[in-house]
Symmetry: C2
Subunit: 276 residues, 2 copies
Amino acid sequence: MGTTSKALSLLSYFSRAQPLIGLSDMARLSGLNKATVHRLMGELAQAGFVEQAGSGREYRLGPAVMRLAALREHAVPMRDVAAAVLRDLSDATGETAHFSLMQGQTLSTVAYAYSPLHGTRVTMEDAEVLMLHATGSGLAVLAYSPPGMADRVLAGPLAARTDQTITDAARIRAILDEIRAVGVAESVSGFEEDVHSHAAPVFNAEGVAMGAIAVAAPTARMDAQLAARIRAAVRTQALRLTAMLGGLTPPDYPKDERPRDAAQDDSRAVSLPAKG
Amino acid sequence: MGTTSKALSLLSYFSRAQPLIGLSDMARLSGLNKATVHRLMGELAQAGFVEQAGSGREYRLGPAVMRLAALREHAVPMRDVAAAVLRDLSDATGETAHFSLMQGQTLSTVAYAYSPLHGTRVTMEDAEVLMLHATGSGLAVLAYSPPGMADRVLAGPLAARTDQTITDAARIRAILDEIRAVGVAESVSGFEEDVHSHAAPVFNAEGVAMGAIAVAAPTARMDAQLAARIRAAVRTQALRLTAMLGGLTPPDYPKDERPRDAAQDDSRAVSLPAKG
DNA sequence: AACCATCGGTTCAAATAATGAACCAACCAC
DNA sequence: GTGGTTGGTTCATTATTTGAACCGATGGTT
C-alpha cells in the first residue's frame, strides 16, 4: 500500500458517529505509527482535507472536501438525477426510497426520498454506510459485481447487525443466485429491526453494478400486494436511473418481473423464490 | 513536499472549466513525471477520490468526495448556517450575496443567495475560486489575515482579470489599510466586468479572517444610497455569521460604520475613504 | 500508407522520502 | 506527587517514490 493510500485511508475513519478523532485514536484505528499518522494528518491538514478543531487538538474533516464535492456534483450530477428518480419511486410505493453507491469496499447512501403517505416511515441518514451482506442494496450490488467481489466480501467476517442478519456465506451465495434470477434483492430486518427492503442494482457504463436503489418499508406494513408493487417499481426505476447516469444494463439482467407465488416466507424470509 | 501532498495537489487541478483531465495533461499541469502522476492517480482512484470517465480514459473527481462532504457538513454545518445569513443579506440589499472561505492559498465560494428583486443580477458558480487581490472578498480577507499572508500574496504575480483589476502591490497595501479603517472592502469590476462588490471578513475562533461574505451588484445599479445600505448590511451580517460559526471578531475591528462623505470616486473607484 | 505526434501506461536502477522506537512536555485524575 | 494519558518530535534505518526511456495504440496529415 502506497503512502498516499494510507493517508487517504485515514479519512475513512471519520464518520457521523465519530466526527472528531485525536492523533492517538487515529493511530490506533489505522494501526499506523503515531509519528506516521502525525505527518500524514499534517499533510492532509495543509491541503484542507482535515483541520484541527478549535478547543482540543483533535482532527475533523476540512473544507477542501466541500469544494471538491461541489465540482464532482457539477461534473456528475448523480445526486440530482437520483433525486428525481427517488421521488417517483417513493411516490409509486408510498415508502422511503434511497440510492447508494459503491465506494471501494463499502456502499454508502447518496440520496433518499420520503413519502408523505404514511405517518410512520423508515428514515435515512446522509452518507450512511450500508453493509453489503445485510442490506437489500448490498445484496443487489454483490449479485451484479465481478465474481471476485462477492468472494472477497464473503471471505471476510460477516457481522450481524440484528439477530436476523444472515451471516452464513453459503446461504448468501445461494441468495445471490436467486437475486440474479429475478433482478431484485430483498432483506427483512437484516440491517435495522422491522425494516423490509427491496433493492435493484444500478449499473455503470461497463455493465457492472455501481450501486443500488431500494425501497424500505416497515415490516408491519409489508404484504404480498405492497411487495409486488415495490418490486415492480424499484426494478423499473433502477433501469431508468442506470440509463440516466449513462450506465449499461447487462443483457442477462432479467427482462421483466416474472409471475411469483403470492405466498411469502415466514418472518425470516430473505430470499426470493429460486424458481427458474 | 511529501508524496501525499503531491497526490492531493493533483485534485486541485479539477475545476468547473476542466472537470476531465487526462494523464499527460495532469503531468503537465502539476509538473510531475507522467509515471508519478499515473501511480498517484491510481491510488486516488482506488480510494474513490477520482475515477476514469467512461469514454476516454481521462480522470474526474470520484464519489468519495461526496461522502466526505456529507460528513463534513454534518459535523460543521457552515453551509446551512451561511445560507440563512446570505438569504437575509440578499433580502436586505436586493442583490446577490455570497460566502467564501480560505482554503490554503485560495478563496473559494461556499454558498450564495440571489434576490428576486431585480431581473438582472450577478450570478455565482459553485466552488468558484476568487482571486485575493481582485475581489472584495479577497481584499477583506487579506486585510484581516496575519501580516505574512498579504506579503506572500502581493509578492507573487498579480494577474489582471479585467482592465480594471488593480495589480500594483503598493496600491493594494494602501487599500488594505483603508479597509481596516472601515471594516468593509470594495471592488469595482476587478474580477468581472460591471460587477461592484462589497465584502466584510468572517473570523475564526482565533480572530483571523477565515473567509468573507459579500454583496455583488451590477455597476449600473450602484449609487451612493445602495452602497450605503449594502455596506451596513454586509457588515452586520458578517458579525452575525462570525458569531454563529463560533468565531471571534477581533477587538480592533471597527465598531460601527462611520459617517461617510456622500461623494463617490470616479469609475475607477475601488478604495474606501482613508479617513481615520 | 507511411509519417508524426499524441495518448495512457510500464519498467527499473537511483534517489529520496517514509518509517517507528524512543523520547518530550503538558495535562488530568487520584 | 504519581501514573497514565495526550499531542508532538527526533533520527538512523528502511522501503518507497521517482523519472528517463520505452511500449503499443490511436488519430490526424501528407
